[in-house]
């Protein structure tokens, strides 16, 4: 099994202050911690598990700046065999179609049986790159995959639906699958492990090397045109309870008693 896993480095914004750049084109990322997209971490783990059971190789690829190298090294430390970096200068501001075009070029340079992506990216979360890439490749796809069973030239997968329900599908290979969180328990990566792959060469490819014509990607080629970012308008806001933890706790218990009648 030759497996390609698409990974993206994303800023962690759940537990941090998000500030818009002055010109409103993006957010200030300098002060934000960042790392591998949560969904992609599960995808890399799943690829490595398939390799461990069935043999083959795992290649991870990202379209990103030099700053994304640590994410690729982390994947190598987890057990990926190869990493590819596509220099993102000409991809700046590319929409999911542009990213999928680039990844399609990467997939075309190998002979992969399976391409894994995250179900969505935690930053701008389109949940599009996987199925669009499959469309460009002319391969079948399944999104939100929660288990993968390899059987010869097919995979049997479960897809997560709503309310705890899942569906089972059989899919012909080669295929693109997008991975949902919780599919496995990603292994721990030690600093020692990362040191071991420090010297591993990571080729950096430019768009021409993956068969893209100039102008085929980048902000001008976008089909989704971002026109502005803004802090959400204030809507209904919760009534804030203030004070020392003890005072807050007393008020919470009062509310629970009066409004809920359950304590």
């Amino acid at each position: 099994m030759e497996i390609l896993v698409c990974v993206k480095k994303v800023p962690d914004t759940a537990d941090a202050e998000v500030v818009l750049k002055q010109d409103g084109t993006g957010i200030k990322e300098d002060d934000l911690a960042s790392g591998i997209n949560e969904w992609d971490n599960y995808a890399v783990e799943e690829a490595i598990r398939i390799k461990e059971t069935h043999g083959g190789t795992v290649t991870v690829a990202t379209i990103g700046s030099a700053d994304s190298e640590d994410v690729l090294r982390r994947c190598l430390a987890m057990g990926a065999d190869n990493a590819i970096m596509i220099d993102d200068a000409s991809f700046k501001g590319a929409d999911p179609y542009g990213i999928a075009r680039g990844l399609c070029g990467v997939a075309g340079k190998g002979s992969y049986d399976l391409v894994l992506a995250g179900a969505q990216a935690g930053d701008d979360g389109y949940a599009m790159v996987g199925p669009v890439l499959a469309g460009y490749l002319g391969w079948p796809h399944a999104t939100l995959v929660t288990s993968i069973l390899l059987e010869g030239k097919t995979v049997t997968v479960t897809r997560e639906l709503e309310g705890g329900l899942e569906e089972m599908l059989r899919i012909e290979l080669p295929a693109v699958l997008t991975i949902q969180t919780g599919i496995n328990e990603p292994r721990y990566v030690s600093i020692m492990g990362i040191r071991k792959v420090r010297a591993k060469e990571i080729p950096v490819l430019d768009p021409a090397a993956i068969g893209l014509a100039p102008g085929e990607i980048g902000a001008n080629a976008n089909r989704i045109k971002r026109t502005g970012l803004a802090v959400p308008p204030a809507g209904k806001e919760a009534e804030m309870i203030k004070g020392t933890p003890a005072e807050i706790a007393r008020k919470i218990l009062d509310i629970v008693k009066e409004r809920g009648g359950v304590a």
Partner: protein, 322 residues
């Protein structure tokens, strides 16, 4: 006149609620921008859906075929591509759900129409379409338009529009033939798998204490369990807690977990993603504790506390006594 289509989502013989939210949006695009709305329902045994839908929208398009009995993007995208090419709707709406996420991006490639996913607002801006998406954990709204196209595809986040009521007049129903498929298919539907019933049924509890990623470590979970016990509440959680196997799937609140309606819901260290909030709609009192004052959960909660959840857990335990 330009048209707006709503792709109807149904599963196991039931139309899903999100469809009716999109009907509201389609009506809004009709009243504000003059788009002509229609529902598109495809599948097997869907004629009864069409009867219902005709009470909501002036037109319903039906494609009925045994091949469409179970949803697969392959067959659905082929039928929809055919409809889009014949009818040329300017806007086609679908829920951002396991159904929409599987179908619309692929339909976008097959039908050569651009798609924007997970939108919370959709409106016409002149001859073009403008959408708003909520990104970076709900902390930023991004507005986008599209490169000019004959038609635009949009998936819409659940809860962005209120569900529509019946219109009171009967619409027309157009039965359309199913186009021939390019078999053999590369995907095959094998069946559904229900979630195993767990040890607790959180949907039956009037009082839930719910923990999120803010719990940080497996070894902190007992602290929350103990608080729930002392309060006489049941412990629930957000998805990451289940993904990490710190609690069982049966305790997960949200679109892919359980829908709950307790009298009291206390969320500790949960950011307020829409998939989580969709699971507690219609609950009684909703109290959120989060150390980030900008967490989106505070626009959904009735009461908010900006504080370290562990301090509040300890203080609550102290107040209750043992």
């Amino acid at each position: 006149m330009a048209k707006v289509f709503v792709i109807v989502e149904h599963r196991q013989g039931v139309m899903r609620d999100a469809t009716f939210e999109l009907i509201s949006l389609a009506r809004e695009l009709q009243s504000r921008s003059g788009l002509e709305p229609a529902a598109v329902v495809i599948g097997h045994g869907v004629r009864t859906f069409a009867d219902t839908l005709s009470k909501y929208l002036p037109r319903t398009i039906v494609v009925e075929s045994e091949t469409l009995a179970d949803f697969r993007y392959e067959t659905y995208a082929a039928v929809l591509k055919d409809i889009l090419e014949r009818e040329t709707p300017l806007v086609t709406l679908c829920p951002q759900s396991a159904f929409g996420m599987e179908l619309l991006p692929r339909l976008s490639v097959e039908s050569a129409r651009p798609c924007a996913t997970d939108c919370i607002k959709v409106e016409m801006e002149g001859a073009g379409l403008s959408v708003v998406r909520s990104i970076y954990n709900g902390k930023i709204h991004s507005r986008s338009t599209f490169a000019p196209s004959g038609g635009y595809l949009v998936t819409v986040r659940s809860g962005s529009y209120a569900p529509a009521a019946e219109a009171g007049s009967a619409g027309t129903i157009d039965d359309c033939p199913c186009p021939p498929f390019k078999a053999p298919f590369k995907t095959e539907f094998l069946g559904y798998r229900e979630a195993a019933a767990g040890a607790v049924d959180i949907s039956q509890s009037p009082f839930l204490v719910s923990i999120g990623r803010g719990i940080k470590d497996a070894e902190n979970v007992p602290k929350a369990q103990e608080l729930a016990d002392r309060l006489g509440a049941v412990l629930a959680c957000s998805r990451p807690v289940v993904d990490k196997k710190w609690l069982g799937k049966e305790r997960q609140v949200g679109t892919s977990g359980r829908t709950v309606k307790p009298k009291v819901y206390i969320a500790l260290g949960i950011s307020g993603a829409f998939q989580h909030l969709a699971g507690i709609k219609g609950s009684g009192v909703f109290i959120a504790v989060n150390r980030d004052a900008k967490a989106p959960i505070f626009s959904a909660a009735d009461y908010g506390v900006v504080e370290d959840m562990f301090k509040i857990i300890d203080a609550l335990k102290e107040q209750i006594g043992s």
